[in-house]
Subunit: 379 residues, 2 copies
């Protein structure tokens, strides 16, 4: 194909979701590595760890006790990055005509709430180890958090108990809900117990605001959705697709930054989790299972990543609902083996993100791996 | 001051250089840490390491031999991220009216050249250990690389030898020169021998292109330089300044992302290194020395960082020369101690950069440290 020339030349690719460029250096993986090595994964975690803050029946850092939960469990983070109750603030007006502060020292208060969502009571399981039914239950919990319709027996979501605790549902109060998982110490995860996070904020975060802007502009110009067009094109080319089922696709995007980055998206334009049909939720569970199993099988290690869902804001009006296309990003750092990662430092921070293998090469490798069971189950 | 309220509330701040927001969570440093710890620095490196690719007289990975150099030495990276000689490429035109490739699969070839610049023949010294005369010699080398007037006795820059090797000077051939240093394994540095890098590219990297756009827009609107106005304001407020000499300032910028991030800039608007006076070059050497010594003294460790210079493009026309303001960024990852770093993962990658201490708190700590000698010289 025309693009094979890109397998061997340094080039940059354009990301239409963010409107920015990525430098690609396919010939560069041969360089010797005398730098940091990740610790090889200790695969011997116990199913229950008495010192873990997230295992059932254990005390948390602040003294609260985890209940004897059986599948997923949500609670408000004891060290939330955003506060619920705080004074307001906005940039003070100029004190004189020569006062430059309003221009150069701009700030605004951000209220919010952070949740922790445990994926399983077992300390030593990961998404790759969980049955699809458990993954579906995580998806249901994420959806319930978006709509603020969580199970009535849940401490924080039972209407009367919440009222007692003075907790207002995210949908009534906040602008955006960022669902994500940091997995592995290489990605700053501070506890191996399988869990994700959810940060609700009064402001719309930069990344979403940029994506939203670009999706809206594309639709105005072309009359179709940016990601619907992109999926259509990728299904035709079949060079970057890793897995496909009847309603979802997982692919290494044309503009990937991380070595084995994945974009996971429904074939249909759906703005947010509540818009998914039951079939689509089941298919997403399959995607999560297949992607994480393939990742583990790539370097025969519990694969680190940051993963998250981008969807329409909580307070989206119809116009936004009609142009946003929900998707998941997987950002995994490993490059060459279980211990050699890609660092996004120096040039990447100061000038432009840079990658070493092409997305096509990454997709080819991931496609060839087992998505049904991990290397841990073998033999 | 009005801004003290920001010491205790979650808020976001605006970066006028990049046009984006940063989430600040000053109350969050109390959370317990059970995650990754950096290895404590092994401070026992030898002055000469026979297995190092950068020590004088040693063979490099590709077989070339390092000369018996005495101060700085430049050579072309054996594993450059950009290639000099390669076919050209641009996004192919649409094959039919429904072909979406030109829109969604955009790429362009990038030619370039990467240099490695050793800062000293000694394997175990860092910028913080070098005398100011050596730092000045690094600044002179950076400047010479920008103007392509390197010492005539240098293999790669002696005009006749270069011609023999077929090497054209960066200024004649490339658009941008990114000078940077990755220090420490936490910042992906693959060799502790003191060295920096220089990547020249035919394309203008994203970060510079964004800064340039914002500096130009500011000047058109306000008739003054963005960073000149910013320095003026900070010199008045004195809340974020760490060091000042007669021609330069080092400060924790209002919009800092990394915990102890520094912006180092000349008080006068100068577009690129060749525009600096001798006094300014000497003062920059002092800044480099003082900043890196304070960093080392903060957690009594050889402080990791990525550092780089942003300046006008190599091919800048007068109009750009008149609005760009040269500056250095230091991006250091450590947060709480020599072993606990800040991870920019999860929320930061997917939603918005987030920091834990305020820039004012960071500046206060750095200001209180010794900038004349490191903890290693004490006692
Ligand atoms: O060229 P080095 O020092 O081996 O590599 C280091 O710096 C480069 C430029 O920032 C990065 O692309 C690499 O990920 C990093 O490991
Ligand atoms: O909240 P945790 O898991 O302790 O913290 C982790 O995720 C956060 C959200 O991405 C980051 O801000 C932290 O730097 C990281 O260590």
């Amino acid at each position: 194909s025309e693009e094979r020339i890109l397998d061997d030349i340094s080039h940059r690719r354009f990301n239409p979701l963010t409107g920015s460029w990525i430098l690609v250096s396919p010939h560069r993986t041969k360089r010797p590595w005398q730098g940091a090595q990740e610790e090889p994964a200790k695969s011997t975690l116990p199913a229950y760890d008495p010192s873990c803050f997230l295992c059932p029946n254990n005390p948390r850092a602040t003294g609260d006790v985890m209940p004897d939960y059986k599948s997923t469990y949500i609670f408000i983070n004891d060290y939330s990055a955003v506060k619920e109750d705080q004074p307001s603030y906005s940039t003070p007006p100029a004190e004189s005509s020569s006062d430059l502060s309003p221009l150069l020292l701009q700030a605004e208060a951000v209220k919010g709430r952070c949740y922790v969502i445990t994926f399983s009571p077992s300390h030593n399981l990961t998404l790759a180890d969980l049955p699809q039914a458990s993954l579906l239950s995580i998806i249901e919990t994420w959806t319930a958090l978006y709509t603020s319709h969580l199970p009535q027996d849940h401490k924080y979501f039972n209407t009367s108990k919440s009222a007692e605790l003075g907790i207002v549902s995210p949908k009534e109060q906040y602008t955006y809900l960022q669902l994500f998982e940091n997995k592995g110490s290489a990605m700053g995860c501070s506890n191996p117990h399988p869990h994700g996070q959810a940060w609700c904020t009064s402001s719309l975060p930069t990344e979403i605001s940029t994506e939203l802007h670009n999706m809206r502009e594309y639709k105005e110009k072309h009359g179709r959705g940016l990601l619907v067009d992109y999926v259509t094109l990728e299904l035709e080319k079949r060079e970057r697709i890793v897995i496909e089922n009847s309603t979802w696709v997982a692919l290494c995007p044309w503009w990937a930054i991380w070595p084995f980055e994945l974009l996971v998206l429904p074939k249909r334009e759906v703005a947010s989790l509540p818009g998914l049909t039951d079939e689509e939720k089941g298919d997403l569970a399959q995607m999560l299972s297949q992607c994480t199993k393939r990742y583990d099988n790539l370097f025969k290690t519990s694969f680190p990543y940051s993963m998250g869902i981008h969807q329409a804001p909580l307070d989206a009006k119809e116009e936004v609902e009609q142009c946003y296309h929900l998707h998941l990003h997987f950002y995994p750092p490993l490059l060459r083996s279980a211990t050699v990662r890609k660092f996004l430092v120096g040039y990447e921070l100061l000038a432009e993100p840079q990658r070493d293998i092409t997305p096509e090469q990454a997709a080819l490798r991931l496609r060839g791996l087992d998505g049904e069971r991990t290397y841990r189950e073998e033999g």
